[in-house]
Symmetry: C2
Subunit: 369 residues, 2 copies
C-alpha cells in the first residue's frame, strides 16, 4: 500500500482580524510555499479547502490565486473537525492513486457561521457550544467529584504553553484565580474555560512515499486514522461524562497504526472547553475514567507539556476549519524536533484528536517519524 507523508506546512498568526477568508487561505498557503523546498504549482494534484465559511468554490479561488491548476479541488466541512477530515480525504486521494501531492488549506474568520449549529434548535435552544460544554462540565464534576479549580488547570497549562507558540491568539499568563474570577457564562463554565473563535489559517502538504523526499528530508508519516460520527446533536449522547465517538476513533487509529496509548510521545487534544481535555484523554485510554486530570497535572509539572504543547484550542484560539490542520502541524514540528521552546523530549510518535459538536464526531490521527 502507498504510504503518505506530511512534507510541508504553513500558518498564519491566529487573531481577531477582520480579514477576507480568501486572504487567510492565501497567507498560510504562501507560508507553506516559502518554507517547502522544490515545490512547484504544476506538481500539485489536489487542493482541498477546510472551512465553515459560507463562500463557495474556495478551493478553485485559492488555486487560481496560487497559480495552481489541480485535478481535484473542493471544500470540506464538518464543523470543528473539518481540518482532520481534509487530511484524511487527502490521504485517501493519494493511497487510491488519484493524486500524488495534495495541498490542504484550512481557514476561518472570527465570526464563523460554524460556531452555532442552527439545526440543534430542534432540541430546544441549546444551539451554542457553551450549553453542551456546561452540561459536560456539570456531569463530569458531579460524577468524579472534581472541582471548578481542578478543571481550571487545563486552561492555566494551555495558556502557559501558548506563550511559546508564535501563532497563538493568546500570549497571556493565566492563573487558577484568573480562570475562577473570569466571567461566568453558565453555572459550570467561565470565559477562561473556553477556546475563543478567531481568524486563522493553516496549510499542509501531503505526498506519496515515492515523491516525498523531493520536498523534505524529514517526512512525517500518517500511520493511524480513526473517525466516528455518533450523532449530530449532543442530546443523543447516552452519557455526558464521556466521548463515544472519540473512544471509537481512538481504537481504530491505534489498531491501524499498531500502537497503544503508552507509546504516544506527544499529543494534540481538542480542548474546545477545559473539561474536554480530561474527557478526551480518558476516552482514548490515556487514563481511567475520571482520572484524566491526573495526567493533565503531570503534563503541567513538566517544563513542556506533551499534552497540547502549542497551547491547545484554549491557548491558541479556535479558527474552526484551521484547527485540525494547526494541530497536525504542531505534531509534525514536534516529530521533526522543530518545535522551538515547545519541544517535547524524544518525540517519535504523536497523536491528533479533533472533534465536532459535543464530541458527536471525532477524528484521531497517529503520526510517526
Amino acid at each position: 500500500m502507498v504510504k503518505v507523508a506530511i512534507v510541508g506546512y504553513g500558518q498564519t498568526k491566529f487573531s481577531k482580524e477582520d480579514s477576507k477568508i480568501e486572504s487567510v487561505l492565501l497567507k498560510s498557503t504562501k507560508d507553506l510555499f516559502d518554507s517547502t523546498s522544490n515545490l512547484h504549482q504544476k506538481d500539485i494534484d489536489a487542493v482541498l479547502v477546510s472551512t465553515n465559511n459560507n463562500s463557495k468554490y474556495l478551493s478553485a479561488v485559492l488555486s487560481e490565486m496560487s497559480g495552481i491548476q489541480p485535478k481535484i479541488s473542493h471544500s470540506i466541512e464538518s464543523l470543528c473537525n473539518s481540518g482532520t477530515n481534509s487530511v484524511v480525504a487527502a490521504y485517501s486521494y493519494i493511497v487510491s492513486g488519484l493524486a500524488e501531492l495534495v495541498l490542504i488549506s484550512g481557514a476561518e474568520r472570527y465570526d464563523s457561521p460554524g460556531q452555532i449549529l442552527e439545526w440543534d434548535n430542534l432540541r430546544g435552544e441549546f444551539k451554542h457550544p457553551i450549553f453542551w460544554a456546561s452540561i459536560f462540565s456539570k456531569a463530569y464534576k458531579r460524577k468524579y467529584e472534581v472541582g471548578e479549580e481542578d478543571l481550571a488547570l487545563v486552561s492555566v497549562k494551555n495558556h502557559r504553553q501558548s506563550k511559546n507558540n508564535p501563532h497563538a491568539l493568546s500570549h497571556k499568563s493565566v492563573s487558577i484565580e484568573d480562570v475562577l474570577n473570569s466571567k461566568k457564562l453558565t453555572d459550570d463554565l467561565r470565559l477562561l474555560d473556553c477556546s475563543q473563535p478567531c481568524t486563522g489559517g493553516a496549510s499542509v502538504l501531503l505526498a506519496s512515499e515515492e515523491i516525498c523526499k523531493k520536498f523534505t528530508d524529514d517526512p512525517i508519516w500518517i500511520t493511524g486514522i480513526g473517525q466516528k460520527t455518533t450523532s449530530a446533536s449532543f442530546t443523543k449522547n447516552p452519557a455526558f461524562d464521556n466521548m463515544g465517538s472519540t473512544k471509537q476513533a481512538g481504537l481504530n487509529a491505534f489498531q491501524m497504526s499498531k500502537h497503544t496509548p503508552l507509546e504516544i510521545d506527544v499529543m494534540e487534544i481538542h480542548d474546545a472547553f477545559s473539561v474536554c481535555e480530561p474527557m478526551a484523554l480518558e476516552s482514548m485510554g490515556f487514563a481511567n475514567q475520571g482520572k484524566g486530570l491526573e495526567i493533565v497535572n503531570e503534563a503541567y509539572a513538566s517544563e513542556n507539556s506533551k499534552i497540547n504543547p502549542r497551547g491547545g484550542l484554549i491557548g491558541s484560539g479556535h479558527p474552526l476549519g484551521a484547527t485540525g490542520i494547526s494541530q497536525t502541524i504542531e505534531i509534525v514540528q514536534q516529530l521533526q524536533s522543530n518545535a522551538g521552546k515547545r519541544q517535547v523530549d524524544n518525540a517519535n510518535i504523536g497523536l491528533v484528536h479533533n472533534m465536532s459538536a459535543a464530541a458527536t464526531s471525532s477524528t484521531v490521527l497517529i503520526l510517526e517519524k
Copy 2:
C-alpha cells in the same frame, strides 16, 4: 486495485418546493434505502453530503436522521460539480481501504447561495452565470457561424427527453419558436436556453467489489475518472469558445478507462445553458470544434437521445449539489437497462460530464456494466 461499483440510488422529484435542506437529503436517502436490497445502516462506513447550502454538519445531521453512525462524515462543495466531486471522494475512500460502503447524498434548495459567485465581483459585475453563458454563446455563434435557432435545439431536445423523466422539473414540450420567443435575458441568451435552479435531492451508494453483490446483481463500475480546475473565474479562460477543464478531465477519464469517445453509448452532459452542450461534446472529442451541434441533431433525430436522456439540466432542473449525482444515476439506470421510456439501445459504457462556473472546473466519469 480495489474496484468500486455503484450499487444503489434514490431521488426526489425536482421542484420549486420550499423544503428544508435536511428534508431533501433525507427523502432521497430514504428512497435509496427503500430500493436497495440488504442495506443496513450499520454497514455504511461513510456519509458524504454534496451541497452548496450554508447549513453546517449536514452529513452528521443526515446520519443521525437515517440511523447511521459512520466513520467518515463530511460535506463537499465545489459549486455545480459538488456531486461528482463527492462520487470521486467516495471512490477514493473505498480504493484506499478506509471504507467499503459509502452513501452520498446531494441536495439543494431553489434559492441556493451557489447560484452566484460573490468572489467574481472582483472581475466586475459578472457574478451571475448568465453573464459568462452569454459571452460563451456570443463567442460560439460568431466563430462557428451558428444561429440562435441552432442552439435552441438543445433546449427542445432536452425538454422532450425530460417528459420521460418522472423526477424532472419540466414536463412541458418546448419548440424552437418557444425558445426564440422566451424572455430575452441578455443579447445572446433567452430564458429557455437556461437550466433552472430548483429544489432536489439525489443519493447513490458505492461499494467495493468484495461486497457489491450483496446489494445488487447489476453493479455499475466506475472505470474512468478525470478532473481539472483551470481557474475560479471565467475571465481567466484563454478563449470563450471551448472548455479547457472539460478537455483535460475527458482525456484523463478516457485514459484511465482505456476507452475512446467512439465507445460511449450514453452520456450526461452539463448543459447549464444550451451552448454548453455542443461546447462540452467538442471539448471531450465527440465532435470537431464547431461541429458539436451536428451530433446534437443526430441525437434529436433518434427516438431516445443518447445525449442527456433524462433531459439534461435544462429539462430536469439544476439543484446544484444534486445535479452530478442525478446525472450519475441516469447513467446507472441506462447501463442497467432500467431507464424506462428513456432507455437507449445497447448501453454498455456511459459518461458523466459535470462542471462548475463557466467550465473553470470539470469532472468526467466513465461508468461500465
